[in-house]
Symmetry: C3
Subunit: 309 residues, 3 copies
């Protein structure tokens, strides 16, 4: 019997296919239930700590909304400056402290491995909401869930990954979540921001057919799903290199209509300029539905981890 | 039948006299009900997003308190730095994202027109909590409500507006809310901070008898209500001009007692030095009651907009 | 009949022995009740304002958790920058404003006497969560509570106070809370950071046997409880002096095992380097249990003050 009770959510690798199916089934069920009422009575009286050592609108508010839609409470902070980190406290001490308060912890932190470090000392389950250029497993799950909802199935699709594939944690976490499915991958990036070779070879090991290119238009001609990502300013040591690369790929409505009108378009957001706003009104532009899916996925994870389903 | 269900609250112009009366009636009713209990069970499970791109104690906490006193939940942020704006996200994308989370959105933003822009893309109703030097309609409503409560009626009163009438969004939003009433207006400001001519002529068009002066003492002799405002540092490009003007008008207890002992004194707060603290204990100093009225007005607006009354 | 209903919690001096016993009894009772459920239904619909003019993870989240575990709601801010203080508002005006919103106020502020100032104008009870180098009475209570729980009794123990005894508000608040008990005190600090003479003489007046030393090892040989404190960077005008003194006392596991293996170790946290991390796994290292005790103490205080017990 598959169960997530008491588990941490740290990376994309940890999930079995059965666990993914369970999470998606619960997410679908919660979505249905929320058509008739604003919240479910599953986590009344429980406390989620949302510890965001880096700014984030989307992920932080998504976790908080998920907890509220389960009737739970939220404590936390939205920047390292508002926390005792400013007084020189280590991550581990902050986590051990919050562990005395909360039943479950969601966190984002700039350092790779920080969520694992937190999970190693916390009694409360830890949900990794992004650890620097490392992992972002709840995002990977909601992305996969969105493809499944938009296209019916992940199997058999051709997914175009575009943007900063070197630093994108969403993309790295995704690789391991998607390994349970059969799909083709076209990776589009500037030479300097290519997917790390070890990840590419791992993907090939999972039987994924991969093509690498620097041309977005070429890739779109064959793609079913475009997963666009932002060139992340905060990952560049050299501001000049960021300036050179940030405009590398820009998806316009004209491109979609000309090359692939039924292209399903995803983006983890925030975007800067890599998808023009005239794309937003296309019925296949799924990135805001993707945001909403994140709430259901995180509700499912919280409820499953806390043994409330 | 008057209804506010599903409406945005964007500016002072939008209200009919019937809507204003409805809001005030509901606010009075909520006030009565809260004498016996800390909260009403009207918004259980619902989520308000409080998006404050500019710092604010009063307005943000007022909206949050209003939502809690209706048994609802709150998500949000209290500065642009804690949001994805820091990563270059547009206001519209932030709103579209939060729209996937919240049932209703309250926001403050430094740019004029930002709340309208937000409302144009959000499915959730948007409450404008201040858009730069633009509008601040919930403040205008609570000001009017306070005058009605303090003096019994707005009709027939002489209101003295004093301070920065050029940049004060509270004042500008107020003009359109007050048009449904018959009152006299005395406007007191330095020459550089006079009410814009277009607003003055609109006021005259509504039949308001207006007198402009640079002398607060002259105005007080005739006034029933003083609406004092702060010279807002953050609206000045030139810090020297701010320094020159900030001490232009200072209300003291001595002035009130000498000129107009039954003067009703309002202020949208925060104040810097424009009302001395010895005024606070006068029974007609109404600015902290005004703050409390804001909670009832915002409760009424939230409940009416969400169709819970 | 002892009652705390409607009282402010401002300093360590205010408590009678009977009040301390009542708070501890209620804290013990809440702890027991929370073994079976995540929260108690005592403060439903009530609003706590957590006003933190200085950053704090521990104290702010502790108050917020306490309120949530009583089923109440929280509003507030976590830094002066997010409040109207940035617009030049006085503390008193901010408090008077929040007083219109909240049923109870917890606050931290950098200035000594700020909580008293707040309490003098607020109708809502005020809980002092630290006023600069002044007082921190809820911390003093939770420290005492922790010693009682860890050692069975405070009477008869020898407590070693170590670190910055000059500026440590925790320590100063503690003196007056501990006066109801009979214990020995060994004070360990650099010459520059000694306990102020007036406090030492007050302690002697309460019958406390005091020894002052600059050697931590000497003190440990006689101590039952070590109360370690951080040399607080933010209390030093001269950064060089901070650098000179910050490494004065460092407790290691080797020291504990060699000198006093059954030493109960407390720390108000955050720590920087004054207790090495290998101490954490000692069964007598009580500082994270101390954090958890803080939630029960604050729950007890809130419920007692609000007349809910």
């Amino acid at each position: 019997m598959v169960s997530l009770t008491g588990k941490d959510i740290l990376n994309g690798e940890q999930f079995t296919r059965e666990e993914i199916d369970l999470i998606f089934t619960v997410a679908d069920d919660f979505r249905d239930q929320l058509r008739d009422k604003p919240a479910l009575n599953l986590m009344n009286g429980y406390v989620l700590a949302a510890l965001f050592f880096e700014p984030s609108t989307r992920t932080r508010l998504s976790f908080e909304t998920a907890m509220h839609r389960l009737s739970g409470n939220v404590i936390g902070f939205s920047s390292a400056e508002s926390s005792s980190t400013a007084k020189g406290e280590t991550l581990i001490d902050t986590i051990r402290t919050v562990d005395q308060y909360a039943d479950i912890i969601a966190m984002r932190h700039p350092q790779i491995g920080s969520a694992n470090e937190a999970a190693s000392v916390a009694n409360a389950p830890v949900l990794n909401g992004g650890d620097g250029a490392g992992q972002h497993p709840t995002q990977a799950l909601l992305d996969l869930y969105t493809i499944r909802r938009e296209r019916g199935d992940v199997n058999g699709t051709t997914i175009v990954l575009c943007g900063d594939l070197k630093n994108g944690r969403t993309v790295h976490a995704g690789v391991e979540v998607y390994k349970h499915f059969q799909y083709n991958l076209i990776m589009v990036s500037p030479e300097q921001l290519k997917m790390p070779a070890d990840i590419t070879s791992r993907l090939r090991g999972y039987g994924v057919h991969i093509r690498e290119t620097t041309s977005l238009e070429d890739a779109l001609a064959e793609g079913d799903v475009l997963y666009m990502t932002r060139i992340q300013k905060e990952r560049f040591a050299d501001p000049d290199e960021y300036e050179r690369l940030k405009g590398s790929y820009i998806l316009t409505r004209e491109m979609v209509e000309r090359i692939r009108p039924d292209l399903t378009i995803l983006h983890p957001l925030p975007r800067v300029n890599e998808i023009t706003s005239d794309v937003d009104s296309l019925s296949t532009a799924a990135y805001f539905r993707q945001v909403r899916n994140g709430v259901f996925i995180r509700m499912a994870l919280i409820a499953l981890i806390m043994g409330k389903v």
